[in-house]
Amino acid sequence: MTTRIVELRQGILKKNDELARRLRSRFTEAGVLVLNLVSSPGTGKTAFLERTLRELRLAGARAAALVGDLETDNDARRLAASGAPVRQINTHGICHLEADMIGRQLDDWDGLNLSQLDYLFIENVGNLVCPSSYDLGERVRVALLSVTEGEDKSLKYPTLFNSADVAVLTKVDLVEAVGFDRASALRNLTEIRPGIRIFETSAKTGVGIPDWLEFLQEQRSAVRQLPVG
């Protein structure tokens, strides 16, 4: 018997990464801006997205959403009330979304034409650990954090917050009620992800939403200017 070393040097999530790469070029080709929304459970991703979808519709933009949860289609029903096409993904115990779940939904989504969309939002399963490892082919990863969660959330979960492109602070209408230290929260986010753009929003009052919509529009225009292929 002889022993030998076999060099593999390959990514463990190679399959996911490859699928995500293919999704990304498909999205670029269709000219649709895809965003992956990640946060802990209860941050208000769905409320934030409800408001976003409603405002986009009023502005004449075309948006759709995929929403991941372990169980129930409650979030999809809430989001669908905006009039946008919405699909629920139930992971049945899996704590994050993976690229193949997105691909499968898109493939059997009757009547959905990506090239007729401006935006596709993917609301990930509420979890601040696992979604950071799984690329879904998105162009913008959005980490959300509510003022009720504490100012140091980003320090506790650096892997996720460091992987985000932008951060959204939610429920800012509750800042006073919960004694939220805004300056400290913003400082912590910036320590973990220097230069990150932060939107301070309330889905309830609409504060911060116009800036967010403007950002979406800029990003969508940028996607349309990307080389295809």
Partner: protein, 120 residues
């Protein structure tokens, strides 16, 4: 807690590479895991034992080498290890360091296998 799906991918990749070495037995699987990869070695080891049962990997060791987070600072023109994950700053000049160059690795580095005797 997604270490089980990570390990399932490791086992699949190793199994995919084995047909090139007929009859080989796997002795060791080496991984490289970054400080920002969001996985914990203890959980990987625990899941590995479960996942290899009844496969040609059964009885093999899992060796995990940790890759520290390293940032590049353009002012110092240096690649440095982060002192702690709560502050992405260059340890030399203290300036914010957004340019992460290492620490997200989640890789299978190599296998050690025992090859079957080839009868001439």
């Amino acid at each position: 807690m997604h270490e089980l799906s990570i390990i399932a991918s490791v086992v699949d990749s190793v199994l995919d590479s084995l047909p090139q070495y007929p009859g080989a037995r796997v002795l060791e699987v080496r991984l490289r895991v970054g400080a920002l990869a969001a996985v914990v070695e203890d959980s990987l080891q625990f899941c590995y034992e479960l996942a290899v049962r009844g496969t040609p990997l059964e009885g093999s060791r899992l060796v995990v080498s940790a890759v520290p987070a390293r940032v590049y600072c353009p002012a110092c023109n240096k690649l440095s290890e982060l002192e702690n994950l709560q502050s992405f700053r260059c340890p030399h000049c203290g300036q914010p360091a957004p340019d992460l160059r290492q620490g997200r690795e989640l890789q299978i580095e190599s296998l050690e296998i025992e090859e079957a005797e080839v009868t001439p």
